[in-house]
């Protein structure tokens, strides 16, 4: 499974597209595939203060439900209403139209690069 090299990753299978102090956050194709068809997404509201590593939402598929973890400390600035309306986008375009929310990062976070994330998923 290809992992875009321009993004950063967490061990919880989230990706971050960092531009200045704003990060766009989503889940990886590996995570979406493991969950199966995603039918419901619960996202943190705009203004929510996030703590890196803590649960901040839920992603539910026909088979299971899993927590969405905040990838870094910061504050939610925008959420993707389209993915809330049509969660199946997460399976089709996890790295593009399936982005979940944007956040202003208040601190640098320990993140993985694409090669490190690829090694993580290869070992799972």
């Amino acid at each position: 499974m290809s992992v875009p090299t321009n993004l950063k990753y967490t061990a919880e299978h989230e990706w971050l597209d960092i531009q200045g102090d704003i990060a766009t956050v989503g889940i990886t194709a590996y995570a979406a595939d493991a969950l199966g068809d995603i039918v419901y997404v619960d996202l943190p509201g705009v203004g929510t203060v996030l703590q890196g590593g803590e649960p901040c939402g839920e992603i539910e598929s026909t088979k299971s439900v899993s927590d969405l973890h905040a990838p870094a400390d910061g504050e939610v600035t925008e959420i993707n209403d389209a993915v809330v309306e049509e969660p199946g986008v997460l399976n089709l375009e996890p790295f593009k139209d399936g982005w979940l929310f944007r956040m202003r990062m208040s601190d640098s976070a320990a993140l993985l690069d694409a090669a490190e994330y690829q090694r993580l998923t290869d070992s799972q």
């Binding site: 199966g36 068809d37 419901y40 619960d42 839920e58 026909t62 088979k63 439900v65 399976n91």
Partner: protein, 371 residues
Amino acid sequence: MSQRTPLHEVHRQLAATFTDFAGWSMPVRYTSEIAEHSAVRTTAGLFDLSHMGQIELLGPEAGVALDFALVGRASKIGIGRARYTMICDHDGGILDDLVVYRLADQHYLIVANASNTSVVHALLKERATGYATTIRNTSSDWSLIAVQGPAAAAIVDEISDLDVAKLGYYAIDVGTLDGIDVLLARTGYTGEDGFEVYCAPMDSEAIWMALSASGKSRGLVPAGLACRDTLRLEAGMPLYGQELSRDVTPFEAGLGRVVVFDKADGFVGDAALARRRDDGPLQTLVGLKSLGRRSPRTGYHVLDPASGEQIGRVTSGAPSPTLGYPIAIAYVSTAFGATGSKLVVDVRGVHEDVEVVALPFYRRNTRSLTT
């Protein structure tokens, strides 16, 4: 390492995602489980169920031995017919649910859940002591392929020497598919019309390919265990390990009708089951329709909305692909089990409103039961 079915390489070439199920590596989905679910409801799906266990009984007293060992009356099953039944413990607890096929006057084929097959086999041998019958675990002699959905009859008919229009629901016959010897049964676990094909493991790939070819123009898709679970849930069919277990009798599960009491030799569990029948079950299995978007899941607590007290437990739950809202099956105290009751489920700390509804959630149009 998990066991693999003879079709493992076929699934791999179809890019299946695999899951471990009862010690077997099985396809959980090939593409999207919602698409596979929808195909079974509208056209047809092709399943590898070779993990299921088979036990065969031969001999003049095979039927009466089963009458004693199981809750149903196998000796009255007609030749070429099938019956859904259960094997219970002395206290009435369910040890497995089974389909029993009578292949000939003195020949029965029992299909057990993969995880229970060796236990069921051992118990049948023990309970059949003194009866003129031989009992063998023949699981390795059989592969099982199911084709399920409204197009299943046409798909099977095209490559079978049997007239499938004459094969009734819960009937089984010896025949061929694409010239290969099979047992063809009109049974399934999806709530749709469909067939289960028992064949020699060495023939399973040829059967799979022949069904795929016949189904190609009819919308047949390979279908994994993920959609099998949502299909059976919509159809209100219980799953051993979730709705059924040693902790409940057929009466709690709403399946008291499978228990036949007036048998000459009695049967294992009869006294306990008669008491449960007469006293009435303390819990009842109900359908829940969720009024929110988050689905109740296995093990979640069902609460009385007035008091907040736990009055039940969810056994299975998922967002229903056909109905578009979450559905669940739960055991609740009998007092709360009336259709229309408003209850709540604790979904990871948040109380979601649910309503008790009649099972099944989904019922096919039975006019489709012809070719």
